[in-house]
């Protein structure tokens, strides 16, 4: 108490009815969630502000053409009016922020007459399919490998698993993707005379999903495996695990009920960053495998300086990442009762 003297206790300024809420754990949890959601608003505001400012700092206009015939002044003027670029920049920003709140991200520069929202909705299913499949793979494969390595610590199984995890964690996405294309598409095609090979590009709910999903899931799997191994090694030295063994419980029960449950706690915290990684990873994977998802749309927008599209994609990505972090933070409170709500 002495430490907090002089500082109002939590909820001191609230009316008594509300103060009762803050004193219970579920009430504190509700406030914690509400605060985290509210905190997303200024963050997203600054994300929009910074990206918007950067876009407008860009030298030249989006109508400049690299080589070839330049557009006439009248055309540029008309285009500026059509896309609202003739107004002062602060007014443009406020208008944009207002529209974003209504899920209106404006018109794309590169595709005539299409709105950014339409483009994002069109490309979303591809990114979501690959991301979801990768996400489903991560936990069982990563945790499984980690637990096996830990239970067989300092054996060949451990060394091989962790060796693979280290290499997989160091090699970037596009390097792994490209090498996989060489091995499973090019060399497999040559070796089998075209009878067996994985398609190197395109999207379909078939074998063309294998390489993109593996490429995307590889790094999170490697991380999860290393983390699970470390936390499992810590858990198996705990007293309650020794007790479980001493009671004569079957190995399966000890591992599933006593070891796994506790060693999973640190793994859950990494799911937020993992989600962020899957989002940015889609940019690379979709470029390598020519998949028309949001990541590919972003790169195309960057190349053609389609500002509304760049802004819209950046905002979407930031929202997804922020939401994932929020969900993980909240989930963590439920999983580990020792966590303090601050």
């Amino acid at each position: 108490m002495a430490v907090t003297a002089g500082r109002p206790t939590r909820g001191a300024l609230l009316p008594p009815q509300l103060r009762a809420i803050t004193s219970s754990r579920s009430g504190a949890l509700a406030i914690f969630i509400a605060r985290r959601i509210l905190w997303m608003i200024p963050i997203l505001f600054f994300v929009i502000l910074i990206t918007f400012t950067l876009m407008h700092l860009a030298p030249g206009s989006p109508w400049d053409k690299a080589g070839g015939r330049q557009l006439s002044d009248t055309v540029v003027k008309n285009l500026n009016i059509r896309y609202g670029l003739d107004k002062p920049v602060p007014q443009q920003f406020l208008l944009y922020a207002w529209n974003v709140m209504h899920f209106d991200f404006g018109l794309s520069y590169q595709y005539q007459g299409k709105t950014v929202s339409t483009l994002l909705l069109e490309s979303w299913p591809y990114t979501a399919t690959i991301g979801a499949l990768a996400f489903i793979l991560i936990i069982p494969v990563g945790v499984g490998l980690g637990v096996i390595a830990a239970l067989r610590q300092n054996t060949r199984v451990d060394y091989i698993t962790m060796g693979f995890a280290t290499i997989a964690a160091s090699f970037p996405n596009f390097v792994i993707g490209v090498i996989m294309v060489v091995v499973f598409s090019v060399l497999a095609y040559r070796a089998t005379g075209g009878n067996f090979f994985l398609p190197a590009a395109g999207f379909g709910v078939d074998d063309s999903l294998v390489m993109p999903v593996v490429t995307l899931a590889r790094l999170p799997i490697a991380y999860t495996a290393r983390l699970t191994r470390a936390s499992t090694l810590e858990t198996i030295r705990q007293d309650y695990v020794r007790t479980a063994w001493a009671k004569g419980l079957a190995e399966r029960l000890v591992v599933m009920r006593h070891i796994l449950k506790n060693s999973l706690i640190p793994v859950v915290t990494t799911l937020g960053p993992t989600f962020a990684f899957l989002v940015t990873g889609s940019v690379i994977v979709e470029t390598v495998f020519a998949i028309p998802g949001i990541g590919r749309a972003f790169v195309t927008a960057i190349e053609s300086r389609d500002y509304p599209m760049i802004l819209g994609t950046t905002i979407l990505f930031s929202v997804v990442v922020a939401m994932a972090n929020l969900v993980v933070d909240v989930a963590y409170v439920f999983i580990d009762p020792r966590v303090r709500l601050t």
Partner: protein, 304 residues
């Protein structure tokens, strides 16, 4: 745990000098015992030698000119037409481009750390040392920065300011300084409460002296480790930008760009993609090995 490093303990150690090994000497010894870390260091040393000597090799005609185009011999396989590991879509020697590519990668890795070190130190120290409102402001600032996925931000910056060497260094530094600033802040917060800081403060040390003589040297280990891991991260970002076609522009050979260029003709000529891809992978692996080794060697808890 809470036992302070009292003068008594130190006096006893002084009496037996043959057991007294400094943290740094000990760290060097432990690093040298770590075979994987040494392997990484050797790989990096080889890379540095290649990067420094390749222009000389071209002058001595041991190596072909990486920019010279020979349109008669495009997409040669390994060993064909006098190209040791083949040629690319403009008939340039893949081996020469591969060796020259190490220059850009190493330069990006090292210069970016040189840029973010002062920024991260200044913000981290200010935030951790002064605390209060400054800390709050600076940390909220880094929170916003953290909300950007770093690759996306790098892409946006490069697309806005154009893909020059300077923009790429700047873009990669802009997304990487936050981690260092947070680490330094954490270190300062942890060390600030130690007894020797209190002792120094009560004996009249000025804030500047406190920072330079106590806070900084004592957080040097984690800072070195963070910077070492920052090098592969910067190399990776440059390679990705190049691979997506917005990196350092031709004709300067970079590994990411070689993968990007060669990928179109991957069925006809896979070697022009495989070698630069593996070069990126193994370079990153070498730096990771060294980083892991340094982290273990500089961790006082792992001292024997």
């Amino acid at each position: 745990m809470a036992i302070p490093a009292t003068t008594v303990d130190q006096l006893i150690d002084w009496e037996v000098p043959e057991q007294q090994i400094g943290l740094w000497t000990d760290a060097v010894q432990r690093f040298r015992r770590n075979r994987i870390a040494v392997l990484g260091a050797v790989l990096i040393a080889v890379l540095v030698v290649i990067a420094l000597t390749c222009p000389l090799l071209v002058q001595l005609h041991v190596l072909k000119d990486p920019i010279h185009q020979n349109v008669d011999f495009i997409e040669s396989g390994p060993g064909q037409n006098g190209f040791l590991i083949g040629s690319d879509e403009l008939g340039r020697d893949t081996l020469a481009r591969l060796l020259f590519g190490s220059r850009v990668s190493l330069a990006v890795g090292i210069f970016v750390q040189a840029i973010i070190l002062p920024i991260g130190l200044a913000i981290g120290l200010a935030s951790g040392y002064f605390g209060g409102r400054i800390d709050n402001l600076l940390m909220r600032f880094t929170d916003v920065w953290y909300a950007f996925p770093d690759l996306l931000f790098g892409l946006v910056v490069v697309s806005v300011f154009g893909p020059s060497l300077l923009t790429i260094f700047g873009a990669i530094s802009l997304v990487n300084w936050v981690g260092l600033a947070r680490l330094v802040r954490g270190q300062v917060l942890a060390i600030k409460e130690k007894e020797y800081i209190e002792a120094a403060r009560s004996s009249g040390s000025t804030p500047l002296k406190l920072i330079l003589k106590h806070l900084l040297p004592n957080s040097l280990g984690p800072i070195i480790v963070t910077l070492t891991f920052g090098i592969p991260n910067a190399i990776f970002l440059e390679a990705v930008l190049s691979f997506l076609g917005v990196g350092i522009q031709p004709p300067t050979p970079t590994w990411g760009q070689m993968v990007f260029d060669g990928y179109e003709a991957i069925y006809a000529n896979p070697t022009s993609v495989v070698f630069p891809a593996l070069a990126i992978g193994f370079t990153l692996l070498a730096f990771t090995f060294v980083g892991d080794g340094l982290r273990d060697a500089l961790d006082p808890r792992m001292r024997r």
